[in-house]
Amino acid sequence: MSRLMRPYWAAAALALVCSQAADAAPLSISQLMASLAQHPQGAATFSEKKFIAMLDEPVVSSGELLFIAPARLEKRTLKPRPESMVLDGDTLTLERGQRKHVMQLRDYPEVAGMIESIRATLAGDRQALERVYQLALDGNSERWTLVLTPLDPKVGAVIARIKMAGVKDEVRSVEIFQADGDRSLMTIEKRASPQ
């Protein structure tokens, strides 16, 4: 019995240590990633504001997010018009009206960088993140901010940086600063897990 229980106890002890330490001590990237990785899947609603220099007003959209670890991310926009973006592995499928586009992430490094940042963060996949970005974490486990700066100049030509803000093990907002000064802010609200 004890052999079977041991990992459980170890995990519980770790969780205890983490939550107690959270109040005071600054959060490390590995701690954040470990806690994010605890959620193999999650559903949330989002609303997004895009500030585009060309446009006088921000463009607002909203919809649902669904993440299934390790590699599937669905973004279903409901307003202003229904469309969906499904990332599965390396394949990105965009659906808009009756049109459907299937693209390979490797062909679109700018898009890939942006989407990978969200997926890898949700998955708590530090390795994947560090392949594309330099990470800087600020705050504690109650309230943290993770800033991603692209390593690849090709990605950097489009994305200046990505700022993620979160509470405990939840990502609450993703703010993308584009190189041309445009930016988008996506706020995420967690829903009950659809299990």
Partner: protein, 784 residues
């Protein structure tokens, strides 16, 4: 004695001259193995199209390549390395493996010409309302995940024409990418799609293309023994068929020659007899090839295969001469007097049978007919006029009278088998009548020398690649490029409604990449002058979160588009669109033609009727189902061949009636042949082999060869028994025929196999039936 000898020498000289002439003709003959043998001599417009497509259409120039084995990264690396090397090779027009090669060039071309190419460009779209609607769509798109991709385009292309064009071009299904290269759905095979510069019917060029692919694979940096290369496509099929036919024909001719020579040696026990006996055969083969070459301009490999088998039949004449005549020169003259009329009649009946094939619209069949006629005449003539003079003074063969006497006794008892034979025959008739619906295979695939495994590989790769199978085509014809493109645009509009109704998944049209001048001009005219557009734009942005000033580049671009020169075919060069236009827009014999291939909705076949009906009002527009068309073509051949064969039978009966002037006697000769044909047909159908056109030729051969036997068994005076020597000669003759044709039954080429399985048993059956139903000589019956 001097006179006939001089005549003999004259015959030999003439024969040698004839052989030289034949050899001369053959040396200049073109041998083919392509589809030409199967294509009609007087095609309908649909058939002409089918032929052109098979010869050098888009589909005919595709080579589908698969890389199997090893692991996925290795396969993808191999795919990229092969592609990189072959893209530099002039043999290929395009090499696709999913890498974005032309993408950048294509994008620039599309973007620079978007106002001439986009079907959305119309006067209404550039009205204030139209602009407003287009702009709000574009702003919505900005908010979407794809917004990042279109943002930079917005100031120059606020109406989203580029997005329109890209969506139109990407409508086809693409294979999935694994490690950056196309892979099959199950991921176990890397895929590539290549288009050759040469036509699919240019088998030599296709072979070179295949060799280039193979070499690129073998010499790739990542080459590993665990990876395998597979290729398929129409060109690949012609190359492998040619190899198969070549290999089979040469192997079969050697084996059958050895077999027949061994058989004859056993009988004759004399090498000189063997050599002399083969002279008529060789003369016949040469005469046959030369005649076909003169008559058709080229000789098909299948005709040569057929010729191989005919060795077994042509050797009969010398067997008759050697075995039937006594052992001295005088008797050869005697043989000519006694037996030649019978053999001559046999040759004539064969000719009557094969002559009907000459009328066939199926060039392959007509070639076989001509070959058989020329070959048999030459072989018989050489046996009659040349061979007796060539025989040495003391020429003799091994005494076969022992075998003859045994046969004689067997034949006397054969009559006892009459009733069993009648029962077998009745059963055969019943089987044939019962299976009459499934007797014939009238799909053209049945003629294909391509193996089932190769066909399956082709189907798999095609499904994985989503390669066009180009089964359904709409064809627009016209006097010039402009009229054809305009008609294509009208057809496209009609087809688009079919797509929207879900009857079609999609279609291609050359007018998509190269719109007609009229359409381009109309689109140009839809763009308002700069000042007017500026005013409309100011109205259009009202209520939208954007200022009109953002679109200053748009004003400049439309102003430029209004006066830009219209697109010509040459402008597409260096883009992947050029390839499409090249394949879909064809100028031939002073006529222009546009092809619009249709794609069926997934898992459903296209219902041709509504599309045909929708298109029927348009002149010079043809809806073609290539598969149905080729099957119809072949079943037309088949039915024609059946009618012609029956005609041949009538001709044979007519000939015999003229010669014998006795219907009963003719019936007696025809009966065993008909019985043999019926029994073979029943046998094939019991064994589950559906008959193709070559089975029919085989049956005709059974009648031709069998008629000799029936004629030998036929005697005016029933009191003269058949000489044992005659019987022995017939046995040897049928054995050589069986040896020649029997080998074909083991061929992997379906058309050769069909001949073999029909003729070999048919000839034996004809001999047996002839013996069983022969009139019993009085002496024999009184003794019995």
């Amino acid at each position: 004695m001097i006179h006939p000898r001089r005549r003999g020498i004259a015959a030999i000289v003439l024969w040698l001259i004839f052989l030289l002439a034949c050899a001369g003709i053959i040396s200049r003959t073109h041998f083919t193995t392509d589809l030409s043998a199967f294509l009609p001599r007087a095609p309908t417009p649909e058939q002409q199209l089918l032929m052109d497509q098979l010869r050098d259409g888009l589909a005919s120039r595709l080579i589908l390549v698969g890389i199997e084995g090893a692991d996925a990264p290795t396969r993808a690396r191999l795919s990229r390395q092969i592609a990189q090397r072959l893209r530099a090779d002039r043999t290929f027009v395009s090499v696709n493996n999913g890498e974005p090669v032309n993408t950048e060039r294509d994008r620039i071309f599309l973007f620079d010409n978007r106002y001439l190419l986009s079907p959305a460009v119309s006067p209404a779209r550039f009205s204030a309302d139209g602009l407003h609607a287009a702009l709000s769509d574009s702003i919505d798109l900005l908010a979407s995940p794809a917004g990042l991709l279109v943002k930079s385009l917005l100031p120059r292309d606020p109406t989203g024409e580029m997005v329109q064009l890209l969506e139109q071009l990407n409508s086809g299904t693409q294979p999935k990418l694994v490690e950056g290269a196309w892979a099959s759905r199950d991921g176990t095979r890397a895929l590539m799609l290549m288009q050759t510069r040469a036509a699919g019917s240019d088998t030599d060029a296709q072979q070179r293309a295949m060799a280039a692919i193979r070499q690129a694979f073998d010499q790739a940096a990542s080459a590993t023994p665990s990876a395998r290369l597979v290729m398929t496509g129409p060109g690949v099929f012609s190359v492998t068929s040619r190899d198969t036919i070549k290999r089979q024909v040469s192997r079969l001719s050697i084996i059958s020659l050895v077999l027949i020579a061994t058989l004859l040696l056993l009988v004759y026990r004399s090498f000189s007899a063997l050599a002399l006996g083969l002279l008529p055969v060789i003369s016949g083969a040469l005469a046959g090839i030369a005649a076909v070459s003169l008559g058709f301009g080229a000789v098909h490999g299948i005709t040569l295969g057929f010729g191989t088998a005919l060795i077994g039949e042509a050797v009969d004449y010398s067997i008759y001469l050697f075995v039937q005549s006594e052992q001295n020169r005088a008797d050869h003259q005697n043989w000519i007097e006694r037996f030649w009329p019978t053999i001559r009649l046999g040759v004539l009946t064969s000719i009557a049978g094969f002559a009907s094939l000459l009328l066939s619209g199926f060039p392959g069949l007509a070639q076989l007919g001509l070959y058989a006629i020329a070959g048999l005449i030459a072989a018989a003539m050489v046996t009659r006029f040349v061979l007796p003079s060539l025989l040495p003074a003391h020429f003799h063969i091994h005494d076969v009278s022992g075998i003859g006497r045994t046969l004689s006794r067997a034949v006397q008892r054969a009559a006892a088998l009459r009733w069993p034979a009648v029962i077998v025959l009745l059963a055969a008739c019943a089987i044939v009548v019962d299976h009459r619906a499934t007797l014939w295979n009238d799909t053209i695939a049945s003629l294909s020398p391509v193996s089932q495994a190769d066909v399956e590989l082709d189907t798999r790769l095609r499904a994985d690649l989503g390669a066009p199978d180009v089964r359904y085509l709409v064809v627009v014809s016209g006097a010039n490029q402009e009229s054809v493109l305009r008609a294509s645009e009208r057809v496209s509009t009609l087809l688009q409604t079919q797509v929207e109704q879900g009857r079609l998944a999609g279609f291609e049209s050359p007018s998509r990449y190269l719109p007609s001048m009229a359409t381009q001009r109309a689109r140009q005219d839809s763009l308002p002058p700069r000042l007017l557009l500026e005013t409309r734009l100011a109205q259009a942005v009202q209520g939208l979160p954007v200022r009109a000033q953002v679109f200053t580049p748009f004003l400049a671009d439309t102003a430029a588009a209004r006066s830009q020169p219209l697109l010509q075919a040459a402008d597409l060069e260096q883009t992947s669109m050029a390839m499409a236009v090249d394949a879909l827009l064809i100028q031939q014999r002073g006529q222009w033609r546009a092809l619009l291939p249709l794609t069926a909705p997934a898992g459903v076949s296209i219902n041709a009727d509504p599309i045909r009906a929708a298109l029927s009002a348009m002149p010079d527009v043809l809806f073609v189902d290539m598969k149905a068309e080729s099957d119809r073509l072949y079943s037309g051949y088949l039915h024609e061949a059946i009618v012609l064969s029956l005609g041949g039978l009538v001709a044979i009966i007519g000939l015999l009636l003229v010669v014998f002037r006795s219907p009963l006697r003719v019936l007696r000769i025809i009966a065993p042949l008909a019985a043999a044909v019926m029994t073979v047909t029943a046998g094939l159908s019991v064994l589950g082999q559906q008959m193709i056109i070559l089975h029919l030729v085989g049956l005709l051969l059974v009648v031709a060869v069998g008629s000799n036997y029936a004629l030998f068994f036929d005697r005016l005076d029933p009191r003269t028994p058949i000489l044992p020597r005659t019987l022995a000669s017939m046995l040897f003759a049928s054995l050589t025929t069986v040896a020649g044709f029997g080998l074909l039954a083991f061929s992997k080429v379906s058309i050769l196999q069909a001949l073999g399985v029909t003729v070999a048993p048919g000839v034996i059956l004809a001999l047996i039936y002839a013996a069983i139903f022969a009139r019993q000589s009085d002496a024999e019956s009184s003794r019995a």
